[in-house]
Amino acid sequence: MKKLINAPETVLADALAGFAAAHPELTVDQENRVITRSGRPATPKVALISGGGSGHEPLHGGFVGPGMLDAACPGEVFTSPVPDQLLAAAQAVHSGAGVVFVVKNYTGDVMNFELAAELAADEGIEVRTVLVNDDVAVEDSTWTAGRRGTGATVLVEKIAGALAERGADLDRVAALGDRVNAASRSFAIALTAATVPAAGKPGFDLPENEIEVGVGIHGEPGRRREPLRPAAELAAEVVDTILADHHLSAGDEVIALLNGLGGTPLIELYVLYGAVADRLAGQGIRIARNLVGNYVTSLDMAGFSLTLTKADPELLELWDAPVATPALRWS
């Protein structure tokens, strides 16, 4: 394992110190491992808090700032944050209008956020949870842990964050988050496995020339392995897999997030994006907005995920609303 770290045990603390130095406009509570906006809002506003294992940067710390999250809680690498941390975040940013937890659907994340919500309730902080579960690679049944949360998290955080910024109340912000999640589907393909620093070697071995189809962002192996194929074929398959699960028809508009998993050059993402756009155009589906880049990564994994969110005027208007975070920024 070759990594630019000091020691596996200090990765998170060291990265947080660097994040704090790089982003003086944000506040970093290094003891509690909480990143927040600096200063409380003048009038009470719904606070959006997210968190999850580290190793997915810029998720979530890179999305803290006006128009998006109020706080982010990074856990250890690929390990959900702990309830204490989430409670500290809620205490730091709530301003009387309640808190929305944006939680990616993994057993660990769900349980830790659940315990935190109980603790917050004990402190008189009202909490709603938006569960993100967009990964169509996973069977969605009541007998399993359900679908994983991946790329849609960025869209939930951006769009619900914009609504919270405008002063909407807790129920409306949470309901919109749920709506964005319900309108979103994702699917990922990996060319290599990620190496967790503490593990010291890749999470799985993938022979040269094979890919993992339907991989998770923690290096959870996917649905199946198959030989590498040209990018355009992979893009088409990913689009088709998502469309098979999604209620999209000709004339519909989407927001598309073509996301690099950390080890994939941007030029390859553009190659893929061209093929994604072609395939969608062939189905009469228009990409109204897009992001191409590394937003929800999996350490050094090579590969990509595609997220398609069915758009409507409200979602597009909120998507376009100003945002000023380390990783997403426009006005």
Binding site: E76, T79, P83, D84, T107, M111, A198, H218
Partner: protein
């Protein structure tokens, strides 16, 4: 369970996790995300100073549980945390170790919703409880947990991260069931003799 045994047990767990961290991580890498060993290592390393000086087995286990919740994260943190807290409460309320084990299992099932056969912690904990209820022996509980962990190999996971793999989860031993067996083996090794 007396106070000394509670302390000895947790020290033994910490030592065993330290020693078998890599093995747990590798099991987790195969069907999960490769952090189970480091999660438990972080957790039990924090438990030892936290329980220092505590004067009853109930307090010790409760504090261990709270510490796990605060330090571990992931799925195993809340599950083992709640389980140890429940065991501590049961002892504090005067229950015997069998009732403590039962309370721990109930806490895990309540929080995680897993049933036997789902390829989780439950698959080691439930047989351990049954064995202990039958014989009252820590060693029997440990052996049953170990067998339970082995028996997860052919199962298809229905809870936790391994469930994403569907049929591909078959053929691997569950990391959480394995760590449960480790925890109970540490108890059997710590106990002075038959209870």
């Amino acid at each position: 369970m007396d106070t000394t045994l509670a302390h000895t047990w947790l020290r033994a767990v910490a030592a065993a996790v330290e020693q078998r961290q890599q093995e747990l991580t590798e099991l987790d890498a195969a069907i999960g995300d490769g952090d189970h060993g480091s999660n438990l290592h972080r957790g039990f390393t924090a438990v030892l100073p936290a329980i220092e000086g505590l004067g009853s087995a109930g307090e010790v286990l409760t504090k261990a549980g709270s510490t796990l919740i605060s330090k571990v994260g992931g799925a195993s943190g809340p599950l083992y945390g709640k389980a140890f807290r429940a065991m501590g409460s049961a002892l504090t309320e005067g229950g015997d170790f069998g009732s403590a084990l039962a309370a721990g299992l109930a806490a895990i099932e309540k929080l995680g919703g897993a049933a036997p056969g789902d390829k989780t912690i439950v698959d080691a904990w439930a047989p351990a409880l049954a064995a202990f209820e039958r014989t009252g022996s820590y060693a029997d509980a440990a052996a049953a947990a170990e067998q339970g962990a082995l028996d997860t190999v052919p199962l298809q996971a229905r809870k936790g991260r391994a469930s994403y793999l569907g049929p591909r989860s078959i053929g691997h031993q569950d990391p959480g069931a394995t760590s449960t067996a480790l925890i109970l083996r540490a108890l059997a090794d710590s106990a002075p003799g038959p209870v």
